[in-house]
Assembly symmetry: C2
Homo-oligomer: 188 residues x 2
DNA sequence: GCCGAAGCGGACCGACGGTCCAGTTATACC
DNA sequence: GGTATAACTGGACCGTCGGTCCGCTTCGGC
């Protein structure tokens, strides 16, 4: 597979940064593919050539932020990285995942909107959920770790957190505290 | 406001039953307004005259099922109806709400898809959440009942339950058990 | 400088939710 | 029974969307 041509690479960057800016400024749901193309100064066909479809583009915008957390998990220092005592490892991961989910609410909303199969089954979410399941099982081997991993992951969905923030007037720390208490139910 | 004309009432029933059947058989997301009209044997304009928009039609299909549970809550016998001891009242409501959410997964999926503001803020969900909040607060006045009401309600979303069922192979009782344990975290 | 492959852009497509309005029909009143 | 009228009807129509297609342009190895 030959390397990307220079004009193609330039357009990829233009599209990614235009998309990131529009998504951030106006909310993912309100930005059409045509507007991204226009704002990036390319044709719509070019956008679909670089990123197979809308989902692919959103994934590509999210990717660098995902990579940071994933690296901290697999290669970082304890308690987030490997080697910590189980309860601390779970608490650290929950906290890091919460921060990630909070920061990237806008993008995550778009994924959630694709439907549960596309959302929960997408590779990034699968990775978070698998990690969560493993850390839960390490804390309490007798529990239904698979269910609780999904339940805690669901509690960090962008749509519910956005609603609690904007309509119910809760703040970030109140939501974090709730999730932590919820996570307490996995203890023996 | 004069009563509905007889032809209008007949068409309302036709549309409702056609919609209920199609939603049930093919999943709400895959049924367009045009197909409902066709299947009911009326024009598309008629559908939009009876039910303001897609959301209104879905609400109307769900309404009778909502009414049954609401009545049991406000006028039924304890522990679901008023008068029971707090912990039992909460457990009974959680169980009834779970049954309701499970039975009506297909319709609820459609609401969830409208976005968090339309979903959580719609009158039916508001009622469930308010009831949940009151029963949680009765069990443990010191807890953030508003957050936990939303969190437990979220655990019963149709999209997550559908995913756990069809893709993760969990069954109804396993999910119910998980939610019950999650609900344990509201105890003092 | 030549040439084939890769990239480009915007006209085009089908599907959707929702609107409009000219023609039709039920009903209240005489 | 006849008539006036307000409500109802249906399907053509609209704007928007994600996604495709393809004739033309540009890049980069030779």
């Amino acid at each position: 597979m030959p390397a990307e041509r220079s004009d193609a690479a330039r357009n990829r960057e233009r599209i990614l940064s235009a998309a990131a800016e529009l998504f951030d400024r106006e909310g993912v749901a309100h930005v059409s593919m045509a507007r991204i193309a226009e704002s990036a100064g390319v044709g719509k066909g070019t956008v679909f050539r670089r990123f197979a479809d809308r989902t692919g583009l959103i994934e590509a915008v999210l990717e660098p932020r995902v990579a940071r957390l994933r690296t901290a998990l697999t290669e970082g220092t304890p308690p987030l990285g490997p080697g910590a005592e189980p309860a601390e490892a779970l608490a650290a991961f929950l906290d890091a995942l919460f921060e990630f989910a909070w920061e990237n609410r806008a993008l995550n909303r778009a994924f959630e909107h694709l439907g549960p199969d596309a959302y929960y089954a997408n590779p990034v979410c699968q990775f978070w959920i698998a990690e969560l399941r493993a850390r839960i099982a390490a804390v309490n081997p007798g529990i239904d770790a698979d269910y609780f991993a999904h339940a805690l992951f669901t509690a960090m969905r962008a749509d519910i957190m956005d609603y609690l923030l904007s309509t119910r007037g809760m703040d970030k720390e109140r939501i974090r505290a709730g999730i932590e208490r919820l996570a307490g139910s996995v203890q023996r």
